[in-house]
Symmetry: C2
Subunit: 361 residues, 2 copies
Amino acid sequence: MAGSAIKPTPLLKDELDIVIPTIRNLDFLEMWRPFFEQYHLIIVQDGDPSKTIKVPDGFDYELYNRNDINRILGPKASCISFKDSACRCFGYMVSKKKYIYTIDDDCFVAKNPSGEQINALEQHIKNLLSPSTPYFFNTLYDPYREGADFVRGYPFSLREGATTAVSHGLWLNIPDYDAPTQLVKPLERNKRYVDAVLTVPKGTLFPMCGMNLAFNRELIGPAMYFGLMGDGQPIGRYDDMWAGWCMKVICDHMGWGVKTGLPYIWHSKASNPFVNLKKEYRGIYWQEDLIPFFQAAVLPKECVTVQQCYIELAKQVKEKLGKVDPYFIKLADAMVTWVEAWDELNSSEEKSSKQPNGTAK
Amino acid sequence: MAGSAIKPTPLLKDELDIVIPTIRNLDFLEMWRPFFEQYHLIIVQDGDPSKTIKVPDGFDYELYNRNDINRILGPKASCISFKDSACRCFGYMVSKKKYIYTIDDDCFVAKNPSGEQINALEQHIKNLLSPSTPYFFNTLYDPYREGADFVRGYPFSLREGATTAVSHGLWLNIPDYDAPTQLVKPLERNKRYVDAVLTVPKGTLFPMCGMNLAFNRELIGPAMYFGLMGDGQPIGRYDDMWAGWCMKVICDHMGWGVKTGLPYIWHSKASNPFVNLKKEYRGIYWQEDLIPFFQAAVLPKECVTVQQCYIELAKQVKEKLGKVDPYFIKLADAMVTWVEAWDELNSSEEKSSKQPNGTAK
């Protein structure tokens, strides 16, 4: 048996899918092999479906291209973006697992200040499995972490915390800047390793990036819709932001926590700022209305499921943001379609119609 | 001129006072000499006024003992706590500077992970002189810091930030735990250096510790009242918490920011948990009512000065917390006395009556 050591089973091995949107061969997985190899991957192929995406040997995956999406969702496929990484949310919908980790294919394993490779997925899982503290800020950061606790003055009744729905990880090297900031600071790199996990307080919005993100699909999955972006749409690069704002309003309503901070991944390549500017410019303008809208959004007590919350939010989007631009009327309709599709695929009888192109290990 | 190098003038040298409450000789200042020597100190001597407090040579200071406080404030001296470090707020009141830094005499210079001594005061000043971001959370932490910026999805209209009123620093070694946590984890030490400064979002409360704290006295000074603690009072160790909750509600109302995080100091000595438990136990019980009270507190638009806000808050304390315990009626009255005393001492004609025992360098 020498040389064939049995690998320890990683956390949540059978309860988590890794969702990767891509248009290219997935060579980046080689670097993640020690951390991802035992998990199941859901690959959402964007762009030309006739192209073949190569996946390194030894990974267990299913792969969906646009033809699969159209076949599985039928007319409801209209809610899934094309030619934009927003298509990743299709992977959330077809997963059958409790947890999702999603990562971009230009993200590599980062190192901590001691030079050790960071197992990003393991940190996300720890974040998701420990409570959040959305109701009161703990100055020594995550009180559930080893070597930390709640500080003096933290109410004892709040120390059980809230269930964690989302874990938002960060990026070393290329920071997640918008096009104007990319243009102004083309050489800026994120070199600061901040050794902290924080709960984003209740009532506070943040910019959620989809590059390195994990969530409890069973809890918040139906709110993790990445909107209408890319081909045929007036906007791009706001898919994760949109999901983050909707998700946060709903988590606040439901009493769930959202964390940000560790783990870091290594973001290798800045996207083209000129292309990004074209995708973003309406979003940059619109977000000045979106943020006040989401800050003021209130969901009625009657909304007790994420689906109910999301449908209600879609209604408010149509009513209030429809005036900003007709795009939001279309988006609100797509939000409803998304939830309908989610419920169809996630009822008990949907399995026969959902056969991907994937190959098994 | 060899050997007599001219020291560079530190930031805000003539605009900041360092306030230190103490009952002992201030040998701890030796370690702070390179960082504090050019600033003016205000020492508030607690306990027996006949005792002499020795201050190391070369420091520029004024010192007030209980006799001075009684003489300067007359009957209003009742609002200043005795035999509790809450007395430090008297130093805020008699200062004539724009900024205050306050530190405990068991706090020493900490080192960063590179082994360099941390100039805590300089970091606080940077925190106070740069804006805060209370309205939207930036995932890469302080966007005004070198090497950082606002991330994608951060509304451009919010990037000017808000004026910073308070900078709350942290502690390596002995964490600021309450008595129950001290008892349960007597050996826990804070070894984690988190390289971040954060804005506590609008609408979020946090436990403000007075050990390592700086603020813009001109802005928020009248709200930095540390309450009635210690001798003759049913409670201790909630002085800074009380000030922090009042201050945060008022900063949120006024549109000012509150930061927490860097700088760290080295907290040398855990206080006695049994003594602390006796001081804290009512506070631990009461804070379950205090937090919902402060979370729900709304100040009317008509309150446009900190003094007006503070008087209004005192009124609400009396009305709503008076039911929790008669102590809060007394505290509400003391809050009003404090603001009256503040205004008396900080009008233009107060100077003749305010001669401390201090010695000049």
